[in-house]
Symmetry: C2
Amino acid sequence: MKSENEEHISLPGNEALKRIMERCNLKSRIEKVSLIDGLGRVCAYDIASMNTLPNSLTSRLDGIAIYYHDFENGIPDTSSWKRGVQYDFANTGIAIKKDYDTVIKIEEVEIDKSGNIKILKAPSAKGELTQPAGQKMKKGDVLVKSHTLLTPSHLEILAMGGIDKIDVLQKPVVAIIPTGNELVPVGKPLPLGKNVESNSIMMRTKVVLWGGQPLVYDIVPDDPKKIINTLLDALKKADIIIINGGSSKGTEDYNIKMLGEVGEVLAHEVEHGPGKHTSFTVAYGKPVIGIVGPPIGAEYTVDWYVMPLINKYLFQPTIKPQRLQVVLTKPIVSKRPFDFYVRIIVKYEDGQYKGTPVIGRDKLVVEGLIHANAHLCIPGDVDGYEAGDKVEVELRCPIELITRN
Amino acid sequence: MKSENEEHISLPGNEALKRIMERCNLKSRIEKVSLIDGLGRVCAYDIASMNTLPNSLTSRLDGIAIYYHDFENGIPDTSSWKRGVQYDFANTGIAIKKDYDTVIKIEEVEIDKSGNIKILKAPSAKGELTQPAGQKMKKGDVLVKSHTLLTPSHLEILAMGGIDKIDVLQKPVVAIIPTGNELVPVGKPLPLGKNVESNSIMMRTKVVLWGGQPLVYDIVPDDPKKIINTLLDALKKADIIIINGGSSKGTEDYNIKMLGEVGEVLAHEVEHGPGKHTSFTVAYGKPVIGIVGPPIGAEYTVDWYVMPLINKYLFQPTIKPQRLQVVLTKPIVSKRPFDFYVRIIVKYEDGQYKGTPVIGRDKLVVEGLIHANAHLCIPGDVDGYEAGDKVEVELRCPIELITRN
């Protein structure tokens, strides 16, 4: 809790993230869920099989099950053989009846209308085309390791292992606090000079995609007491807190002061744009990220700074976007001295990937959020790029969607 | 509805898929949902803005709003200026008060303790640092096109446009019918010789990931009447039907006959392994895919044949997995004459990607479903590969997860 005269801390974004990662204490909690609800959850412990599979000698193919000793001297006379005595049918993946020990595949067997069988090829070893008990898994085998993110394949294996309830990490609760006198909720009439509160739906759905549980607050007006009270409430209920808006130097931007009241501000701003006024605060061991109001900056910074916190809580790696070399169709000027990110529309034309920066004023937000399928970082020490320059962009969609256009 | 003596049709998998795509009639239905429930849904129509944004002249930065005409002859004497008369404060993204027409950023303004202001730099044009009404979007502008898969960014833009309810395509209902006398539900005791029904949880969760609505039936025993009745029920309730198991040549594998009773079998099997006994049937204009019992074959074939049907219903492209060149650490022998798919464990070692095929008997399913992060197609006309050969695999996970190991 610093005084009003605290220093103003500006850091590179990754340094600010590193500091808050080190300082905050993200304590994972555990809950039990049905296997059927396990998709996308992270298991809390190693999970071992309750079953031995197969639990008896099983056929690998459709065919007939026989006693191998009948074939030790080649193909025997089968004219008097009876189903259920010398042989029986065997089906793929199904336990072999009685104590037959070997399978001959159905393509090597001829059966006439009266049920007499003729075998075309003898098995070459005892146990051929069978699977012994326990070959897939044994009771006690670890099937899925602690902190695995569960996919459909994991759920299948756990089901095979007889597991129908699992211990998983609880979804971290991510509080989202929209602030600003100028904001009106979606679907309400928009008075002149007001703006729609549109960031929380973007943030809450990203939190869901990342495996968190959003807790969205009603819009908080620019009133120091209300901001503090909401922050304190969120610090009780949530694991990670996003406070959105009020982050700049405007006359009604109180948030950064309020953050200093409830915790320690590790960074008041970061050295990139958009999103320069992103702040990092630790309060009661929890991370509070101040996210800027403009939608593109808000989107960049929740991706960069909130997703890794959720991943840390869930013990998951943060996966970098796919990169692609494109030829620029327009020049871009740097916003020195800071790194600056520009949305890019990548198209595949004439056998190459071409990137058109989304710059200029008209429809910037719509273009940037919807039509741009990539972005480019212009480092602070670069003047900019010319049309025709080859640059490496980060994709916002699978590359396959670009090649199709 | 063919006779018992119908021909046995074997096709390459992509040809079978093409034929069922042409023959089946996937009719999309539309429903209205709250914007907040729109993540991952596909919008049914173009969606136009209800708002003009900004809806009045807005400041682009934090600063002061002024009248440009006061600056036509350079910086005026501001010693007698009063807030609310000659100027007022302006905040980023907020409507400008009164009828001021231009903004000067706060860094160019000095304010002393008694509120007198001094301006360091005159604006260079009328309207500087402002955004006119309608520059972001105008009422009636199409924000999101018909059949767009909605991401958090789309939801943000729609919220800005004042849209709080949207028409989306209903999730296609995908019936999943597990069949087989040998199957026992997960979590029930497993009698000797029985097997856990583990495919439906893999399939239902994949259907959810692909945007469908799973409808999972209880295990149907190998009884022709029960299979037919379940198929007919599913054909009433679902858009796409998966019948799982009973697809081979075993004595209790009735499914393919039953499929011929309810519809037209376009392919009884496909020319690849695993999953050779995948079947394609059109019944009442709906696709019925017969999926094999063994889990790895089941997983391959729902990916290859069910996902594209869901995508077709939802007007979405099917995105190919990322490909990667790896060096094989072990030889693989072909299963001529058909294409054969082998699961591969890719690791990044000594500066290169190395691929180890999952072959041999022990723990094949666990390794193949869980540890394998790629697969390789061995074309039917290739003998196989040697250790050290460079081959191109398809990834089952983001490449970033491999490089980290």
